[in-house]
Symmetry: C2
Subunit: 423 residues, 2 copies
């Protein structure tokens, strides 16, 4: 049975149980429509976003909840029994007080939100878990995505855990390691002869054709993207229920940055935290920096680019949420900066060296951009700064392979070791 | 200043603050000696183990503690302010109710303790964190280890986070990925021309020569190994403060299995859980199964072997704690079994397919051994079973590379996708 069929059988006007979510709103002109697996407004052709009617939400109830993103289920578009279905239980990752990194960067205080601790080691587990919960409610039967890495892993793992079929589409040129990591969960992984743009277009066509396939980042995207708010929720709770002064967020499609902002605003709206300003900064790799360029040039629109960077998980040349990122960053008095691939690798190494955290290239972008923004006086060194580290270095080993290695190769003797270490 | 010098300057009889730990006891004859960075009894030449004088320990105090192994600090050989020093904050990993795996194996209930969520994605973060805390108290200045993988990552990361120097010794033939993962934290990684036995012997020599180097698994081993108890503590707390009925633990040196047993016994001793029997099962790869062989043949001693298995993190041919493993397994009415490399890969795939958890080869050993023990009627299918998944599949990708991959490579068209999926 397709999702559409499911909707029909349950009545003329279907009402879904998605918690406090009440409708979809178009981002441009605010047109409202019922909750459904749709992602673009047919009124103004802008993306649809979930709107809520929050009841009373208390810190105590959240704190008594599960150690996963479901503790925030009242703030997400998911059924109230969401945690009773098998899921990967993402979230509640570490917020690390990074004093050594702060010292290296010459600022007062830095916090690392370390999302490498998620089940498949990236923040994608958060958004996929929310997408799966909504997809189940809509009656979908198959979890699907186009991806070049982290999302493929997260979808394949989440579907396996839930007992769903999955269809994961990746470019056939993808690195062997990423293929293996997506294939091991035994869903339907298909290598597509084409680049990521081809794969993405194919996904949209397939979503239209297969009504029981939930492409997490296509037809259930409004629900999926809400999962990124949990980064904001966790940071605020881990800081003792307050909003940080400054935060640096990597930009791919731009969705994460806008949802982090939305998360902080919703916490304030429902009274879980006091209203206080947060400056939101965006980070891009120079090889794919359309949003940074638009910000610097004072534009409201984002000119697409052809990506060329080692930070592949951020390499979206035509970022869908780019304009909204510009709005958020300008409204919060932040900034957007970009860094070279060389700086990305240095960012990875700086974080590893100072805090023992091994980030993927996107994390290197965030750290290096923070460094650049500090040096330019844009990030205030006297205020705290949170850095979002959204993925794991084990997934992008190629980035560091020419830069790190043994100090020396020695004979198995104490003399040889001492000599190599200059002792 | 060396550790020995540090001890001298603080008085004739040094007392260290290691919490409730009071002395070291030899495992064979129970000789007692003061807490110190020593690992073998000079009385009976058996390994030394930490003994405690536990005061009153309450569930509420633990539950109010940090979300890391430090919530159990009263049960570990660490100073009471241990969590005030920068550390990787390992532990509090997921305990996953694995209903799909249980169904596949034909048993009532399985729980997966998923230690891939630790900071460097293996249980080694637990033992290294305890070793570092004790080493700091003893006055050591450098964190060191011989290793072929997970331990190297954990030591290098923990030292970086703490601002310590590290010396990590690995065989020069180690896979490039493991070298990179150890090198990125920028300690002194040395590749040694020789096999792991050579590297291990070299570590013992260096520990004798450099009195301010704490080799976590050599001269501070009694403290290090206590970290594995936290697996038992967390499982019990996550089950609602009770001991599981059955548990399967992989065997390398055998230390982890004996410490899981010690952990459960200490919880009972201090009254945190009710006394109830737990059957402890051991898992080995057939290519390195000296403890399984001794168990099956009814021997009390373990005959060393030359390892030949893809489960390299378990490939210790002469396991130091082998005899103690035999004691625990026999006392608790468990069993020890071993599985072929082919079964290991099938174990990895079974866990990934059913629960969306991607384990390293050691995890494949645990799952495959559990399957074998269930089929042989040794694990009771009507009782619950906990499986310890101690490391991450991303670290042993080679094991699955010939077995998993895309279902098909297709042209970028819906027709091609549908045909490939038989739709």
């Amino acid at each position: 049975m397709t999702a559409a069929a499911h909707a029909q059988t349950t009545g003329a006007k279907t009402t879904y149980d998605l918690g406090n979510a009440v409708e979809l709103v178009s981002k441009e002109e605010g047109h409202r429509q019922p909750l459904a697996p749709e992602f673009v407004s047919l009124e103004d052709f802008s993306p649809l976003e979930v709107a809520y009617d929050f009841g009373r939400i208390r810190r105590e109830d959240i704190e008594a909840g599960p150690r996963s993103i479901w503790r925030y289920k009242q703030l997400l578009p998911v059924p109230s029994n969401v945690d009773e279905h098998p899921n990967t239980e993402p979230g509640c990752t570490r917020l690390v007080r990074a004093d050594r990194l702060a010292k290296a960067l010459g600022v007062k205080q830095i916090w690392i939100k370390d999302d490498t601790g998620n089940p498949t080691h990236s923040f994608k587990d958060r958004v996929v878990a929310v997408a799966l919960a909504a997809a189940r409610e809509f009656g979908f039967k198959v979890l699907a995505c186009p991806s070049t890495g982290n999302l493929a892993n997260a979808v394949a793992a989440a579907a396996a855990r839930a007992g769903w079929d999955s269809v994961v589409l990746v470019p056939s040129t993808l690195e062997r390691a990423k293929i293996l990591m997506s294939a091991v969960y035994d869903g339907s992984l298909l290598a597509v002869d084409g680049n990521y743009d081809d794969v993405n277009r194919l996904a949209t066509e397939l979503a239209a054709e297969h009504e029981d396939w939930a492409f997490v980042n296509v037809n259930v995207r409004p629900y999926y993207s809400e999962g990124s708010k949990t980064l904001a929720f966790e940071v605020a709770e881990q800081l003792g229920w307050r909003i940080p002064e400054q935060i640096v967020v990597p930009i791919a499609s731009g969705s994460q940055l806008t949802k982090v902002d939305k998360g902080f605003r919703e916490l304030t709206q429902v009274g879980l935290v006091e209203d206080s300003p947060v400056r939101i900064f965006g980070a891009q790799a120079t090889g794919c920096s359309p949003v940074a360029s638009a910000f610097k040039e004072g534009h409201d629109v984002v000119q697409p680019v052809r990506p060329d960077t080692i930070a592949r998980s951020l390499a979206i040349g035509a970022p869908a949420d780019g304009p909204y990122v510009l709005d958020v960053v300008r409204r919060t008095n932040g900034a957007i900066e970009d860094v070279t691939d060389e700086e990305v690798v240095e960012g990875i190494r700086l974080l590893a060296r100072t805090e023992g955290i091994f980030a993927e290239t996107a994390g290197g972008v965030t750290v290096a951009t923070a460094k650049k923004l500090i040096e330019a006086g844009k990030i205030d060194p006297d205020q705290e700064t949170v850095l979002l580290i959204t993925g794991d270095g084990l997934k992008t080993l190629d980035a560091v392979q020419d830069k790190v290695g043994p100090k020396a190769t020695v004979a198995p003797s104490t003399e040889a070791v001492n000599a190599a270490l200059g002792l």
